[in-house]
């Protein structure tokens, strides 16, 4: 409403450009559940416009900058990494998977649940690092933290 009236007052052609924050406001926001018991992690709790204010990015790379190389491929690779890890660490990942690219190293950070023995966890770490590095052909480093229970990563319920 406000945007519409304002556009009439101001001499500009498109409200979209100025008030982009007011449009598409539902993207990447979680819907409130009826009972208000839907758990959100810290990352999920912040809507997109809070990135770089109260939370960071999930993928850190320079591909989308001006003259950045292989932006599309990077996006696909990131999605591959996320799916691979969620599948390999079945029912163990309790947080978002953060992918950081530096030089030709990819660092993958996540929080896991202490549901399997430590030796198994180390096996999976070794396996994930090695197989991903064969697939993406660069050194991979996993940076994991563990929590006893999923509820430890819940920031709020909506």
């Amino acid at each position: 409403m406000f945007a519409d009236t304002l556009s009439k007052v101001l001499p500009c052609r498109s409200t979209y450009l100025i008030f982009s924050r007011l449009k598409h406001v539902q993207a990447a926001r979680y819907k409130r559940s009826i009972k208000g018991n839907k758990p959100l992690t810290y990352e999920m709790a912040g809507p997109p416009h809070t990135i770089a204010h109260i939370k960071g990015w999930n993928s850190w790379n320079t591909c989308n900058m001006l003259d950045g190389l292989r932006p599309a491929e990077t996006a696909i690779d990131d999605e591959f990494i996320r799916r691979f890890i969620i599948g390999t660490w079945h029912d163990l990942i309790a947080s978002e998977i953060i992918i950081k690219r530096q030089h030709n190293i990819i660092r993958i950070a996540a929080i896991t649940v202490q549901k399997i023995s430590v030796t198994k966890m180390y096996f999976l770490i070794g396996y994930t690092e090695e197989l991903l590095s064969y697939w993406l052909q660069c050194p991979i480093k996993l940076e994991l933290q563990t929590v006893e229970d999923r509820s430890a990563v819940v920031f709020k319920y909506i």
Partner: protein, 671 residues
């Protein structure tokens, strides 16, 4: 200063003109350049330093050298998370190897499905990430391929390619054949552990050492057959096969071949002569014969103008270690070193390792050669020159412990180990833990508890986890100096390292605690000790119930715990232990010291704990401890106000008549 201003002025001018007109721009540029040329003439000349070529790892090394070890952090290979940090030797090994086996699983998958991994994403292409090439008959092979495989050092592939080539009737040049022979001889016809599996090498060399002196040469292997196909072997072929055989301790064969080559008047490689020297251990017996053998070979070398090298020195010293009982060996060793000095050969770590063995074999006349060696090495960054170099630090520390029994020398060895990159020469995890075992043993025997605990806090548990015998020594050392404040920390560590089932450790700990109870301690310390004794009892009991520990309680051990509990006013646990003693009489070996029990009773009398007294008296009567019960009972009667019910209980326990007797006696004394 003035120059500086001029500079700034010109710069400003430059800026403004730049914005105005492009034609003026050029003029100003000239102006600046002329002035700046004049500038150095006023002051010093500018020396442009020469370009220093940096290798690709130099900057990383420089940054890495600025990182110091954090004694509270686990090794880098473990994830920095409480759940994932190992706390015992077993866990350290298991976690590191699990990770590696995960990597191996990925490796296996790639090798099973090489077709899926043939995509090329990286530029520049990274060879390491491509799947391994499998050689079969479908490949079109030539000699270059064989050369490439030999270059990579994969034995099995090299043999396959060679066989395929000879099947197809392709001739191979003698150079390549020689290279192949060298490859298979070096690795004894089998693939080495791949260089990627660092952890496997770090943890598995324990077995290798046992094999050190065994003949492991594959006598029907590919190398022998390849050697036999060569019609007239030349010096290269002979050298290779001799070196290969003696590398895997097939000394008799290699010595035979050496003789054969000598008869043919071939000049072999220096290392073949070294191998021949080493074969003295197996071929000759007795110190004199061995030395003659060495001299003979050295003379041959001299006749053929073959120089000596570092490995020659080490080989001779190695042979001398096996005849170290002979008094001559020390003299020979020094002479050999002097001879090597003529060739400008500096002895390396393994030479010193052998020297220690030679000089310190005599237990009566102790040699201080290690100090002389340290004088030479101190402050130097050492490089590996011989595979046996990794034995030096362990041997040196062992020497400090058993031979010199001197901590300051041990400290010098340790500081040498921490110089530069010398820590890499520690060898493997097994050697590392043996090294620290000796180090801590010397510390325990010779130094104050404060110093011991300083090193303990620094090195345990992330670098070294003490073996039960060392834990015992540490406990002893704390006992002797009555450093009671370290008991809690030590106990939690013992629990963490799963050493709570080691009886000597527990016995030593409880004895020490019971002996170091001084009434002058502060109240907080007392309470802490009392609590600790309770914790010790509880945690062992808990582990016994779950079957983790099979150790059985002994009376004296429990007696000591009671003593400490009482000292810290921990009556609750003390009673628990008395109950335990009473209820599980048959499982407990021996009985506690009667003094402990008397103390317990006295304590209870003072504090007016009647129920505890009853339990204790019952126990005393059941076991028949040598306690003067009468005196104690009379004390109870004297100093406690007993209700009729309590009196009845007590009299029932010790017999009514007896009780009345004591009562009357006591009363008469009072009146």
């Amino acid at each position: 200063m003035l120059n500086c201003f001029r500079y700034i002025n010109i710069y400003m001018l430059h800026r403004t003109t730049l914005l105005k007109k492009p034609s003026e721009n050029i003029q100003i540029f000239r102006l600046t350049s002329t002035t700046s040329e004049k500038l150095p003439s006023n002051g010093d000349n500018i020396n442009i330093p020469k370009y220093i070529h940096r290798s690709s790892t130099d900057i990383l090394k420089a940054i890495s050298s600025t990182i110091q070890r954090d004694p509270t952090a686990a090794h880098y290979k473990y994830h920095d998370d409480p759940y994932l940090i190992p706390v015992s030797n077993f866990q350290k090994r298991a976690y590191a190897l699990s990770q590696e086996s995960g990597r191996k699983a990925a490796h296996w998958i790639r090798n099973q499905h090489p077709d899926l991994f043939n995509h090329k994403v990286a530029f520049p292409p990274i060879e390491k990430f491509y799947p391994k090439v499998f050689y079969d008959e479908s490949h079109e092979l030539d000699e270059n391929e064989l050369k490439k495989v030999i270059e990579k050092g994969v034995v099995s592939d090299a043999i396959t390619v060679y066989n395929l080539l000879s099947k197809n009737g392709i001739e191979i040049s003698s150079d390549t054949q020689q290279a192949l022979l060298e490859l298979v001889c070096f690795y004894n016809n089998q693939d080495d552990i791949e260089e990627d599996w660092i952890e496997e090498r770090w943890y598995t060399q324990v077995n290798k050492e046992r094999e050190e002196l065994r003949n492991t040469w594959k006598s029907n292997g590919f190398s022998n057959s390849l050697f036999s196909t060569i019609k007239s072997p030349n010096a290269h072929h002979y050298s290779t096969i001799i070196q290969g055989m003696s590398k895997y301790n097939q000394f008799e064969e290699s010595y035979k071949l050496y003789k054969e080559a000598c008869e043919k008047k071939l000049i072999l490689s220096i290392n073949s002569y070294n191998s021949a020297i080493r074969s003295a251990i197996y071929v000759k017996e007795g110190a004199d014969h061995k030395w003659l053998h060495i001299q003979e070979i050295l003379n041959q070398m001299n006749d053929l103008d073959v120089p000596m090298n570092l490995m020659t020195l080490n080989s001779i010293l190695y042979v001398l270690t096996t005849m170290a009982i002979s008094p001559e060996s020390k003299k020979y060793a020094l002479k050999t070193i002097a001879e090597a000095k003529k060739f400008n050969i500096e002895p390396c770590l393994s030479s010193f390792y052998y020297l220690i063995q030679i000089f310190c074999s005599d237990k009566k006349n102790k040699s201080t050669i290690l100090v002389d060696i340290l004088n030479l090495l101190e402050g130097k960054t050492l490089n590996i020159k011989d595979i046996a170099d990794t034995n030096f630090f362990v041997a040196a520390m062992e020497n400090c412990r058993y031979h010199l029994q001197n901590f300051s020398v041990a400290l010098r060895v340790h500081s040498l180990l921490l110089t530069g990159n010398n820590y890499n020469l520690i060898g493997n995890s097994y050697k590392e833990s043996v090294y620290y075992r000796h180090f801590f043993a010397i510390l325990c025997q010779n130094e104050s508890t404060e110093l011991l605990m300083k090193y303990y806090n620094d090195l345990v548990p992330h670098i070294y986890i003490p073996e039960p015998s060392i834990t015992e020594m540490i406990v002893k050392s704390i006992n002797v100096s009555a450093a009671v404040e370290f008991y809690p920390k030590l106990w939690s560590d013992i629990l963490m390292f799963d050493q709570a089932d080691r009886e000597p450790v527990i016995v030593e700990l409880t004895n020490g605690m019971a002996q170091n109870l001084f009434p002058s301690f502060e109240q907080s310390v007392k309470e802490e000790l009392g609590q600790l004794a309770g914790t010790i009892y509880d945690s062992i009991e808990e582990r016994k119930e779950t079957g983790k520990i099979k150790m059985s309680w002994t009376g004296s051990l429990l007696g000591n715990l009671i003593e400490v509990c009482l000292f810290g006013d921990n009556i609750q646990n003390a009673t628990e232990i008395i109950m335990k003693l009473k209820n599980n009489e048959n499982e407990i070996i021996g009985v506690p010291d009667s003094q402990n029990i008397t103390n317990f009773l006295n304590y209870c009398i003072n504090k007016n704990y009647f129920n505890e007294i009853l339990i204790c008296v019952e126990y005393i009567l059941e076991v028949g401890l040598e306690v003067d019960l009468d005196i104690l009972i009379s004390k109870i009667i004297k100093s406690m106000v007993l209700s009729p019910m309590q009196r009845a209980h007590l009299s029932k326990l010790i017999g009514t008549e007896h009780y009345v007797e004591i009562e009357s006696k006591t009363e008469s004394v009072i009146s």
